[in-house]
Symmetry: C2
Subunit: 251 residues, 2 copies
């Protein structure tokens, strides 16, 4: 079992084999056994299989080919809408139109996503998370008709693998784990932690192809730039306001 | 393997048995195989075992007994500090002092938390998530010495189980899963989704003990009230600003 968790790789190419509805149902049942806050289950799972809706979602994910190619696209959402409606029907006054409640629901949705992901991988399925979900949340809200108090957090493409990629590198464990309290990184530690990654042939190729002088510059200048991060920050904050998770007085 | 995921329950009581360092190391290695954004691994894992630091953390978690009783307390943090430092050492201009980057790091930290959680449970360990981490993040930052661009997201208490609780209920699957697009809930659907939960003897006892007329009121009036949610919203936003994830111009 630990091997499933240890040996996983992200799968971006899928075979034509569809996922049996019975298996999908089982995986969703299992996913919902993930821990959640106060057993409120403040998340929703939107399972998209139709080509027309995948096509409508694709631009939000920058047309990454997995969206059209995977048999199933799952959008995990922070969701206080259902709980809110239940409260209103039970003479209970909900107070979930705020940032903390959004964060609570976001946490629930991400734990259930990863629980699903592991379940799917244990059954031989391949998955790929799309981080673009929070970049273009409004587009996804429009396509999936997400009501107030629902925000898409992450998307998983799922299917039977049609590739067997090598595992990519990870930082050495001492680079990400701290014992007792956080020990901030010295210059020498940063050097040591990133040496292996920087010396990989694929990293060096990445630097050359992009005409940069360091791998870090590929991230800061091309992949995750200040300008786009700030643009998407503003867009995501607008989404949270529009979906009802920020009272104006809070800002 | 699916059974580990399916049959899990939250464990709040732990035996005296400590977790072997070799096993802990293996679980942490495995946890880091979780998917993450652009392979930046923008998270840190703080593993606390000393009684004095647990004691210092306990008030932030409202003195829930698991904090002192569990052999290991793990605080999963959104962390752009390490990546930021690396960029600065590599003549790359980081742009991660914004809300999107916080969300990205938060997502990474939660996926790795759940990957760890499943790994631990597959080895017979019991776990309990503490959602209090985002309520009292500043206290945790102070105790764990978290620098700028690091925010604690969720805490997991881990140990060998000294209890075998029954699984708690979940909403029926059709209550949380939507196919193709989100179908908003009708009044009748909300009734149906929550009937089972409301009729559980423990739910009814909960309502009686708290002198309420509905289970929903136990949530809105006692467990997760509007006033405390708004207070913790303001506190968590302040933490994000202080840790450097919000430029004032963004608000």
């Amino acid at each position: 079992m630990l091997d499933v968790l240890r040996n996983r790789t992200t799968i971006r190419k899928y075979s034509d084999q569809s996922i049996a509805p019975k298996l999908m149902n089982e995986l969703l049942e299992v996913a919902c056994r993930a821990a959640n806050t106060g057993n409120m289950q403040v998340y929703s799972i939107v399972v998209t299989q139709s080509d027309s809706i995948k096509q409508a979602l694709a631009p939000a994910h920058f047309n990454q080919p997995m969206v059209m190619q995977a048999p199933v696209i799952i959008t995990f959402c922070a969701d206080f809408n259902r709980f809110n409606k239940w409260c209103l029907q039970r003479d209970a006054k909900p107070g979930y139109d705020n940032f903390l409640s959004f964060m609570t629901a976001a946490i629930d949705s991400l734990l259930v996503a990863e629980h699903f992901c592991v379940a799917a991988e244990s059954k031989g399925l391949g998955t790929c998370y799309l981080g673009t979900t929070i970049y273009n949340a409004q587009q996804i809200i429009d396509v999936l008709h997400l009501p107030e108090l629902v925000v898409p957090m992450i998307t998983l493409t799922v299917g039977y693998p049609a590739e067997t990629p090598e595992q990519v590198d990870r930082l050495p464990l001492e680079g990400v784990v701290h014992y007792e309290t956080y020990q901030d990184y010295t210059i020498e530690e940063i050097e040591r932690i990133y040496t292996y990654k920087e010396n990989l042939p694929e990293s060096q190729q990445f630097v050359r192809e992009n005409n940069k002088t360091s791998l870090a510059q590929v991230f800061t200048d091309i992949r995750y730039t200040k300008a786009t991060n700030e643009m998407f920050s503003a867009m995501f904050l607008d989404v949270l306001k529009k979906q009802g998770f920020f009272l104006s007085k809070q800002l």
